[in-house]
Amino acid sequence: MLFQRFAATVGVVLAISGPHPATAAEPIKIGEINSYTRLPAFTEPYRKGWQLALDEINAKGGVLGRKIEMIRRDDDGKPDTAVKIADELVRRDKVVMLAGTFFSHIGLAVSSFAKQNKVLFLASEPLADSLIWDKGNRYTFRLRPSTYMQAAMLAKQAAKTGAKKWATVAPNYSYGKEAVAAFQDVLKKLQPDVEFVDAQWPALFKIDAGATVRALEAAKPDAIYNVTFGSDLATFVREGNLRGLFEKRVMVSLLTGEPEYLEPLKTEAPTGWIVTGYPWYAIKSPAHDKFLKAYQARWNETPKMGSMVGYNTMLSIAAVLAKAKSTKTEKLVDAMRGLTLETPMGKISYRAADHQATMGAWVGWTAVENGQGFMTRWHYVDGADVLPSEADAAKLRPAN
Amino acid sequence: MTAILEARQLRKVFGVTPAVDDVDFSIDAGTRTALIGPNGAGKSTLFELLGGGLSADSGHIAFNGADITAWPPMRRAQAGIARTFQIAAVFRSMTALENVQTALLATVPGGGGLRAASSAFKGEAEALLDTVGIAAAMESAVTDLAYGDVKRLELAMALAGNPRLLLLDEPTAGMAAAERRRIMERATGIAVARGIALLFTEHDMDTVFGFADRVMVMHEGKIVADGAPGDVRADPLVRRIYLGADADA
């Protein structure tokens, strides 16, 4: 009786996971894993981005004469689930490569799986430097500019302000720690006499903003480097505005210019902060115009940074398949190394030495108009300009 | 005769009213003592103090020559004080047999390893259930037992540890007269046979005077009369405060 029950359960699992019958013109299957239910605010624009690119690519006949099929799965924000799904995608669905992930630790989990199981993984969004450096491996590549790259862009700009006494505020997890360390590192190289007088580490998405703002104020810094984002950022900005924390201080802030984070601030959006971001409303290039029009037509909303990342992820997948002329993992990996492609942001390439794409970011100042924050006086920083040289980067990676 | 239990100046106060008020008495081995008194007199509270469920505000308890005032209930049980509760307490997720087996297992130091408990002490448990007269209901879940049978079961569990002193709080509450007599006959029979000192509370006077060889009367936390059943029955104070209008019954 007990066994029958169990057998029935297993039977159900078998039934839903049994192999599908093969058809003649089979599409190329790609496995895509992301935290869709956990962080819909960031992953939905991303999904819309790659969906748009996917439709465009398939409308033109796909690659290698086959359509591309994305199998999209939700990891629920859990690395264990992500690894299990990766297993299922590879072993059962027979996808040719994996892509996606948002949280760094999930990216790392899937990367480790990719290495163990020898399957190509294109990490689209996770920012951790370790993903391609000290925990890098042959099978993992990353698209988005890493924590180090974005922090370095800001540090370069910060060095020009001449501020000496710095305080930092960052969420208390590895992204925050890494972003602070990278910023301090680069800034000290550029300006050896800077001093870091205080570091605040609020719990992620649980900032106690009043107390944090007061603690920063107590340290009396000339400038503050902020890494909080999302709801923490909004709470922090309002509390800081109310208590005059930002008055007469240089403010430097990571990712704050991305529409994901700037738009929800509305009238509370800060002015005069130096930020990295994505000023989609002001970029004038034919490639970007085309993307912007298509995106707005398809989804009836403006793009976020995630949309761009999603779009470029899909373009990269199509490009690597076309270059490799194969769906075999080792061929794909070889093709990924040094792969160059055109995107709405311009030309990007995946460096052979450390598997990091040279996709860059925009650096500028925040401003507010009509109750809405935006970026002004911005310039585009190519990722290649803030990355260590390929020779130096290669040394950061473990010998595989 | 030697006293197996001695209580000296025992006192327990709830809020401002003393439930047990400087009580002194001793119980001799092998005797059968009834503790009577109107509702709220403090009988159950005194039992809790003796069993260790409550700790006394002041006073001392000696059992078998040792001062047990500060001992937890567990240790008192291991020393030989067994009891039943006014509201019968048994293990509701088990059968009657398993209840008694568990009571027997509790007497084994260290428990008994990974051996299946269902076959441990089966014979002894059946014998105990037979002693209290519910061997037929052995396999029943206790939730299916009649209340009287639950009280019998509790008695069997209390006997499992081979106690020297048995405290029974209203062992016959809620029973018909014939059943009362039967269970008290069994209980006193076992006590006499095994030399167990018996202390029980009871509201039914036929039971009290039929089975006790000594009666203590409690009133408002104090023991107001103590002696042979005949003497206590005749005590005018007792007649007034306790037996009241029914004194002649």
Partner: protein
């Protein structure tokens, strides 16, 4: 001095908010004894509704939106009470907890559908948009308003409970529900009303938070743990206790951040642990009287005479499975078996032991990290799998010693605190754990690599673990453990050392969880702080709910169903709501779980 005073006011403003959330929770618990995990969801709904209304109402704006939102949430709370919770009064806390957790999942999906995924940041409160200077320090006007609101609500609750007929009845019902019923008062109405009050307070707290922070889908779970901490420190059911506890936490955070900024992660849980170590029922709480409700429904434990053949048949078929199943099924089965082992330990302490744990992941995580550290030290997989239960067992001995002094929800909260503190340590101590980035590349020894080999290894190890746990439950140990759960006073009077038995059960459960954690670490190839997180603990609880708390085979059945359910549902867009609905349905209509149902059938047949 001025600085310290301003810091004090800042702490007080957070404390007021915390009190508003916790007050509703503690009132609901005090009256109905329901542990309402969905309180955070009501709080979140209050914020969403107030935000939306602020945009829609041209007249009155935010200030009108607040009371409307609060009352709307109060009414939603009544709906929740009448449809779900009413059926769970008197059920074991575990079922209430899981059912309300199901509600959390449903509300989250509904909120996502209604309000969208994007954070919604409301405007500042009209009339209170600036800051005033107190001793030269800027203090936001709204902070001062929040402080006033907290004190006002405390005063209103006091008046309500001490000066109105309803309040006096509520207090009487808290003391003795049967007594109130005997007086001819419908206690159901009192329960509903107090639920209304509790939910309204949750809605109010959420609505008042709109000018302070954005409304997000993470608000519900972000607030609930802290609210529980406040309720527990204050003593469950004590509104005044919650007030004091909120101030304590608020101030500890406000001043702690100046000394050690990282402390915000753990300060609340550390405070709770200290308070409960000194006062096992919180500052103003009273010990629960009478046996735990679990005793009311706990059915017999054994499988009857079909148990052994069924187990053997299961083992044989699992041993043969690799001959027919594709590799991914084996990977899934490894997950199921580790979850089953984790849940089997948890079941021993929760079922026969009568102790609920909200933080059993603590031991899973200890095991996983111990295995990872051992493997990284180059000692190999076998040593890792030995280190895992050892480390978890040692942890369980220490944590268990503290926990078994409390009972019920207090005990559960202590386990949660232990898990959260360990989680924070795992996040902070990079040198040991790799922080959030975890420990990567912990793969099995060569002989156990590959789905089939690792499947057999897991089958052998977890099978042996579960066999031991089942034996323990059927041994004298298990009987005496149940005795202590069913009738503590009776057990004591028989000389049973209940606290020691509970401690042992706690440790056994910890060891099993640690072993499961070790197996999982080598199966996944990595360990992250997630292994210590609340969702991991919930996985185990859900498995025993599905399988049946009082069925020895429950963990196996529950783990299998849970894994299958997750695998199927996670492909759907609204899978969380569907999972939530299944959980609520099970808790309400089939509290015995699937395993309980089978056990009952088997027992009936095995009767001669």
């Amino acid at each position: 001095m001025a600085f310290a005073f301003a810091q004090f006011l800042t702490g007080l403003a957070s404390a007021s908010w915390l009190f508003l959330v916790a007050a509703g929770l503690t009132i609901v618990f005090g009256v109905t004894r329901v542990v309402n995990f969905a309180h955070g969801s009501l709080y979140m709904l209050g914020a969403y509704i107030a935000y939306s209304l602020t945009g829609m109402l041209s007249l009155g704006g935010f200030w009108l939106a607040v009371p409307i939102a609060a009352v709307t949430v109060g009414l939603l709370g009544v709906v929740l009470e009448m449809t779900v919770l009413r059926r769970l009064y008197g059920a074991p806390e575990l079922f209430q907890l899981l059912a309300t957790f199901g509600v959390v999942l449903i509300v989250k999906d509904v909120a996502l559908t209604l309000f969208g995924p994007v954070d919604l940041f409301g405007p500042r409160a009209p009339g209170l948009t600036g800051a005033v200077r107190i001793f030269g320090e800027p203090i936001p006007e709204y902070d001062l308003f929040m402080i006033g609101a907290g004190i006002t609500v405390l005063a209103i609750i006091w008046l309500l409970f001490n000066r109105t007929r309803f309040g006096i009845l509520v207090r009487a019902a808290t003391e003795d529900a049967g007594m109130v019923a005997a007086l001819g008062v419908d206690s159901g109405r009192i329960f509903t009303l107090s639920f209304f009050i509790g939910s309204t307070l949750a809605g109010l707290a959420g609505a008042l938070q709109v000018p302070r922070e954005p409304v997000t889908l993470l608000m519900d779970l972000n607030v609930i743990a802290e609210a529980f901490v406040v309720v527990v420190i204050g003593g469950m059911g004590s509104v005044f206790g919650a007030f004091i506890a909120a101030i304590l936490i608020g101030q500890l955070k406000a001043f702690g951040i100046l000394v050690l900024p990282e402390s915000t992660l753990v300060v609340a849980f550390l405070a709770m642990t200290v308070v409960l170590a000194l006062r096992p029922n919180g500052l103003f709480g009273r010990a629960a009287s009478g046996p735990p409700p679990a005793a009311e429904i706990a059915p017999p434990e054994n499988l009857g005479r079909f148990g052994r053949p069924a187990a053997i048949a299961l083992l044989i078929s699992l041993a043969l499975l690799p001959l027919v199943a594709e590799p991914f099924i084996l990977v899934l089965c490894v997950d199921i078996m580790t979850l089953a082992l984790f849940a089997a330990g948890l079941r021993l302490m929760t079922g026969p032991g009568g102790m609920i744990s909200f933080g059993h992941a603590a031991f899973f995580g200890l095991g996983a990290y111990a295995a990872a550290a051992t493997a990284k030290a180059g000692l190999g997989m076998v040593a890792g799998l030995a280190a895992a239960p050892l480390a978890a067992g040692l942890g369980a001995i220490v944590i268990g010693w503290l926990c078994v002094r409390s009972s019920g929800v207090y005990l559960a909260m202590l386990t949660l605190a232990a898990a959260q503190i360990l989680w924070s340590a795992a996040v902070q101590w990079n040198w040991l754990t790799g922080g959030d980035d975890g420990v990567l590349g912990i793969w099995p020894d060569r002989w156990a690599t590959g789905p089939v080999a690792y499947y057999y290894l897991t089958l052998a190890v977890s099978g042996a673990g579960m066999w031991l746990l089942i034996r323990l439950a059927e041994a004298p140990f298990g009987y005496m453990l149940r005795a202590g759960r069913d009738a503590p006073a009776r057990a004591r009077a028989l000389g049973i050392d209940q606290r020691r038995l509970k401690w042992l059960a706690f440790t056994a459960a910890g060891i099993a969880a640690g072993l499961a954690g070790g197996l999982a670490a080598f199966a996944k190839g990595n360990v992250f702080p997630d292994v210590l997180s609340i969702p991991k603990s919930v996985d185990g609880l859900l498995a025993i709910l599905l399988g049946g708390l009082h069925a020895p085979a429950g963990p196996v059945i529950g783990a299998a169903i849970y894994a299958a359910l997750e695998n199927i549902l996670s492909r759907l867009d609204h899978w969380r709501a569907l999972l939530g609905l299944s959980i609520v349905g099970l808790a309400v209509f089939a509290p015995g779980g699937v395993g309980g149902w089978i056990s009952k059938r088997l027992r009936h047949r095995s009767r001669p």
